[in-house]
């Protein structure tokens, strides 16, 4: 799977590349509008991350060009612009998702995975991790073939953990993923803890292995053994 990161902040771009590479993606990055246009005309990508504010152009133009050239992959906008209008403009131009900066890399990873399922596998795929089988679009989780009873937030939490398996997820990134913006994350930590506890209990009751680990002082991690 090949991803192009169009981002003018070199540090930001390096972080993203480093995180995504360890997820097994092939990454390339473009720092300017021109180099982005060059790259998309020369190579094929599955997913493109586009920053809207580029020193020599607008990310929206890149998306329009991609759509004109019959691009079949997924497009995610990453931008510090957060008004509803910007979002609508971005999504109307043909982007599949809109991620507001600053974001957690785990969140970006989850969005990319979700986009991959939606766009490349047309939503038909399931995520399997040992005895756990998740059908993201149906919001269903099966343990050893049996449907598991989870609340909506517990489902979101499990999916977030599984898509970022092997990664340490901070309480902050989990809180932001579950409740979104305009939430004081300090208030949400207790609830992240409560959710993790409930989820862990439910998984253990179903006889699932101890995949959900606490990383002391940082957060949580889902491991595959």
């Amino acid at each position: 799977m090949k991803i192009l990161i169009v981002e003018d902040e070199i540090e930001m771009s390096e972080s993203i590349v480093s995180y995504l590479k360890s997820e097994g993606y092939l990454c390339e990055h473009a720092l300017t509008y021109d180099s982005a246009i060059d790259k998309i005309s020369l190579y094929a990508y599955d997913i493109i991350l586009v920053d809207l504010n580029l020193p020599d152009g607008n990310g929206i133009q890149i998306i329009r060009k991609l759509k004109e050239s019959d691009f079949k992959g997924g497009i995610i906008i990453t931008s510090a612009r957060e008004t509803l209008n910007d979002r609508i403009l971005g999504l109307n131009s043909g982007a599949d998702d809109y991620l507001i900066k600053p974001f957690h890399l785990a969140e970006l990873n989850a969005r990319i995975k979700s986009l991959t399922r939606r766009v490349l596998f047309k939503g038909g795929n399931t995520i399997t991790l040992n005895e756990i089988k998740i059908k993201p679009d149906a919001h269903e989780v099966y343990i050893k073939g049996k449907l598991m009873d989870l609340t909506r937030k517990e489902f979101d939490l499990l999916l977030f953990l599984v898509t970022n398996k092997g990664r340490v997820l901070s309480k902050e990134s989990i809180a932001e993923h579950l409740w979104g913006d305009y939430i004081d994350s300090a208030d949400s930590f207790d609830f992240v803890y409560a959710h993790i506890k409930n989820l862990r209990k439910k998984l253990t009751n179903k006889g699932v292995g101890k995949y959900l680990q606490t990383v002391y002082g940082v957060g949580y991690k889902f491991i595959e053994n």
Binding site: K101, L105, A186
Partner: protein, 422 residues
């Protein structure tokens, strides 16, 4: 005191003073002139008497009985003691009127046919007194008319001349710096007012420029802060994946991350507040408050369950507002979030709509801050140091923006927020 009252009083005081002093001066000078005139007439009469001396047989006749304006009296005297003229005021009996009347008398001693006599010529002052009274009355009447005219004209000119000035004041009164529309001052025929308008226009231009610069500065800086924050956040994310970090390092990373997130949230909230200030939410649509409340409560469902909070929804009627959906949603989210986070475990939340009023009531610890400061920026409870203290400031700002009235009351351990959507 109003300028009109002040100037009218000033003019009235001056007019009254001038009229009073003028009246006194006029009265005395008029009296003097009248007296002088009577004296002159008496002297003329005396010369007539000297030129055409009366027969000595009329000595002792008192002509007052004939009620002539000029009255003669010739009385014999033993000797001529005092040859000088003697003027004096006197009262003589008027037979017709039946009372004493004021007279001016000239008396002198002389020889009439060799007999020493005292001749007194008297002239009635009645006419001159009446004249003085009449003139004084006319002057008083004129003074009254003058005073009335001063008041009336002062009022008229005041409204005429100062009208433009008050229009200028109205323009400034209605002036709102965040308003995009230009302000124009009324042109006046008075140079000073035009000067005032020019000064205001210049000042307005400068303030607007400063405001614009400040606004752009805040927007730019808020925007530019997001990028480095995004980098910090991503680097910390990467750092956390490192297998080799120990507990104390993990703690450091954790606190870098939570500070970066706090800064980012703070920034977002401040951007939101400044956007509301700049009236950047001009789009309006029909927005269902009840539906949005249900959506947020649904989002918090697990938290509500884990805190064992009982939520009671009493929707007496649908509540729809015409506003920016994003803003109203943020407002409701902040309110509902507060009443869940700051609630007791096993507490209660009551959401009620009634006509155009939304009431959110929740149990919770008594405030350790002044309720009046509740809606101010950066007001936070001492036991929540990590909280931004901007949530309710944003709520208040949104309410002000749409002219909703918001009120906080506290009863025992219940906090009640009442919003009236106008």
């Amino acid at each position: 005191m109003k300028l009109l009252t002040k100037t009218t009083l000033f003019f009235l005081t001056i007019a009254l003073f001038v009229l009073f002093v003028g009246g006194i001066v006029f009265y005395f000078s008029f009296r003097y002139i009248m007296n002088h005139e009577v004296k002159r007439e008496l002297v003329t009469e005396m010369h007539q008497v000297i030129l055409h001396p009366p027969q000595s047989n009329i000595i002792g006749i008192d002509s007052v009985v004939f009620n002539l304006p000029v009255h003669y009296q010739i009385l014999p005297v033993k000797d001529i003691h005092n040859p000088t003229l003697d003027f004096r005021d006197t009262l003589l009996f008027d037979n017709i009127m039946g009372r004493y009347q004021p007279y001016r008398m000239l008396s002198y001693e002389t020889n009439l046919d060799g007999k020493p006599v005292r001749i007194s010529i008297s002239k009635s002052l009645l006419i001159s007194d009446e004249l003085i009274e009449y003139v004084a009355f006319v002057i008083l009447l004129l003074s009254l008319i003058l005073l009335l005219f001063i008041i009336a004209f002062n009022n008229y000119f005041f409204s005429r001349i100062w009208g433009k000035f008050f229009k200028t004041i109205d323009v400034i009164k209605d002036y709102n710096i965040s308003d995009k529309k230009e302000i124009t001052f009324p042109e006046s025929e008075i140079t000073e007012f035009n000067l005032l308008n020019q000064v205001f226009e210049k000042m307005h231009g400068r303030i607007k420029q400063d405001y614009q610069n400040l606004k752009e500065f805040i927007e730019n800086i808020s925007h530019e802060i997001q990028n480095p924050l995004a980098i910090i956040k991503s680097k910390v994310d990467l750092l956390q994946q490192n297998e080799n970090i120990d507990k104390s390092q993990a703690g450091l990373i954790q606190s870098i991350q939570s500070s970066a997130i706090r800064l980012s949230n703070l920034n977002k909230s401040l951007i939101l507040l400044s956007k509301i200030d700049n009236k950047q939410f001009s789009e309006r649509e029909e927005f269902d408050i009840v539906e949005n409340i249900n959506f947020h409560l649904n989002n918090f469902e697990d938290i509500i369950k884990s805190k064992n909070i009982s939520v009671q929804k009493i929707y007496k009627n649908p509540l729809v507002v015409w506003a920016d959906s994003n803003l109203i949603s943020i407002m409701l989210l902040n309110l509902l979030k507060n009443c869940i986070y700051h609630n007791f475990s096993s507490g209660t939340v009551e959401v009620m709509t009634e006509s155009n009023t939304l009431i959110i009531k929740n149990s919770g610890k008594k405030l350790d801050i002044n309720p009046e400061d509740l809606f101010k920026r950066f007001t936070k409870s001492s036991n929540k140091p990590d909280s931004l203290g901007l949530g309710l400031a944003i709520v208040k700002k949104i309410c002000d923006y749409y002219n909703f009235s918001i009120q906080y009351t506290c009863q025992d351990n219940f906090h009640i927020i009442t919003i009236i959507f106008k």
